[in-house]
């Protein structure tokens, strides 16, 4: 679905407020324009709670391709939770589409580390995440659950 520049700016502002209202510390977001004609953004949110060794962080990055008539479509994303206090990581990615299609036969992939920096699989097969809100909520659900992330239940795309 294509969106106007103003709609993408509203969407980005909404993502930042969504995180802030959950208690996260999020700098003022900026919608960037790139030399390719694409637009995009990167936001980083420090989550509330334990800050030892440092706070849990959620990042969201998106790139939107021009679709004509001043409209854009979401083409690449990376939503990522690095939960430093719990020492684990979860991520949903879609990028380098031709390379992933050629090598894995899928576009979306995921990362899951029950112990930060010690993945048992480099890339897990993923399903597309349809919006930033869906990606962020899935990561927030992981952050709020003290149990295992469940990496062993995912399908390794090695």
């Amino acid at each position: 679905m294509s969106e106007s520049l103003a709609q993408v700016a509203s969407y980005l502002g909404g993502l930042a407020v969504y995180l802030r209202n959950l208690g996260a510390d999020v700098p003022e977001p900026v919608l960037e324009r790139y030399d390719t004609g694409e637009i995009g953004f990167a936001i980083a949110a420090e989550l509330p709670g334990l800050g030892d060794p440092k706070p849990a962080v959620i990042t969201a990055q998106e790139i939107w391709n021009p679709a004509g008539d001043g409209r854009f479509v979401r083409a690449e994303y990376a939503y990522e939770l690095i939960d430093y206090p719990a020492n684990r990581r979860r991520a949903f990615h879609l990028h380098d589409v031709p390379a992933y299609l050629a090598r894995l036969g899928v576009t979306a992939h995921e990362h899951c580390e029950e112990v930060l920096g010690k993945p048992t699989c480099d890339h897990y097969l993923g399903l597309p995440v349809y919006s930033g809100y869906e990606g962020l909520n899935a990561l927030l659900a992981c952050w709020s659950d003290p149990g295992p992330l469940g990496c062993a239940r995912l399908r390794c795309a090695r």
Binding site: Q61, E76, H95, T107
Partner: protein, 94 residues
Amino acid sequence: MQDKQFLSPNDVASELSVSASTVLRLIHEQRLPAIRVSERIYRIPVAAFEKYKAAALESPSPARVSPEIKERPSIGAGEPLPEAAEAGAAVRTA
């Protein structure tokens, strides 16, 4: 409540002296921020509940659009690509 990082709808109901169904209505109406863990499970960060009680929740507003043109970043930069599939190997689908 001080030691907890997350509250259940029942915890919030108890704090506000309302029913759990009232708390769920506040969540569904997006008046009380909550994390949807599953269809029936919600968790409310204590920090979000404090904002709610202080009437400090923000309303969404559009992000600023940069007037500058920047170099396109590479999402996933530094992430090793998966090994190339062997010739003749079956293509996997998600």
